[in-house]
Amino acid sequence: MNNPDGSIAIQFSNVTYRTADGRPLLAHLNLQVLTGETLVLLGRSGSGKTTTLKLINNLLACQEGQVIVEGKSTNDWDPIRLRRHIGYAIQEVGLFPHMNVEKNVALVPQLEGWAAEKIHGRVEELLALVGLPPAEFRRRYPHQLSGGQRQRVGLARALAADPPILLMDEPFGALDPVTRADIQREFKALQQRMHKTVVFVTHDVREAMFLGNRIAVLEKGALQGVYSPTEFLQSKDPVVAEYANVLRSEMEFMQEVRKASR
């Protein structure tokens, strides 16, 4: 991790978010994301992890408490500036179906008014970075790509304007396990070079362990705790222990299979 001074990129202080009908989705959340780390939000569906993510780029606004991004409350940020400062990648539907790969990736730089040549160069660079030869893929439309290729484009697009912060909402959720493992490995390698501040939402405990510097466990709208991968495995917290047990029983099963095959 590239964060000698331990500076804080994103801070939630006592954040509560309710739906329009008053149902709380997130209650009294206190959480810090350090600059340059990958923080994974782990939880079941309905635990409030996507809500947490959307509070960061002001797609949702909390009723109580505040979310501070780079020292400034999201209420004080111009929402458009804030969002262009933060890369956003989501599952499957994320690409614009009527734009080809190049236009999808070029979108934010274009909104930001970059020169055409600079955009072109950036698109080539990014597609190469995510393992898609530009000459072959630039002109393709999302429906002409495989699931894995779409996620790579989604990642390239989120990185386009080189934002210091990256929000990823189950970006690899809809992929087959082999492709998924490939992309996870590549993303991890990429992140070790980029040192972006990444907030990554997943319900997959293996993905959380593999990618996260720290893992924040959410359960029914409340933060259960934040753990390093090692702490995570040793935690006595019943919710966390349940996740750890899933990993453990998978490992035991694998060992049995291996023993039986000898």
């Binding site: 500036r81 969002r83 400062h85 989501i90 539907v93 994320g94 179906p97 979108l107």
Partner: protein
Amino acid sequence: MNLVQFFAAHWSEIMRSAFEHIRMVMIAMLLAAGTGIPLGIFATRWRSLRAPVLGISNMIQTIPSLALFGFLLPVPWLAERSSRLAIVALALYSLLPIVRNTYAGIMGVDPAVREVGRGMGMTGAQLLWRVEMPLAMSTILAGIRVATVIAVGVATIAAAIGAGGLGEFVFRGVAMVDNQFILAGAIPAAVLALTADFTLGLLQKRLQRHN
């Protein structure tokens, strides 16, 4: 005199009426699209506009076409020229499919796609013009297509108020109980409707390719 001879004998008259017809329909469609598309967009932006906008365009369409021409007759500026009146009546008549499809097309855009656009920092206008409108375009065009085909048919009735067009042959034929006159108006009108339908259909298909 058979039908072919009849068409040959009246060719220049038929062509003149057909051009009047096309001119009326085209101007009316431009007017209808020019007001109907913005109205449809407004209805998606301000929910309170939805019911009145869709309701009124719906109501206009329930008025029998001949009656609509009649209702507009006392309106001062319109009544000065019958073709002007006919164009406005046709445009009003075409409003519903265009407004409704614009509204439905934009509302039909996947909410997740819209949210990604917002999440990437698009302003409301950028979202509308770069994402929602392109994705809604084939639905909007389908509305224009329906409206055009209807307008080609309804425009024949404009002859009843003296606005010209292919309806003149039809009305003359009815008055004289002469089928050849009726067909001299009806056949070109049908050809026009089919051509418009086919051309707009092609355009719609092109737009749909990547959605």
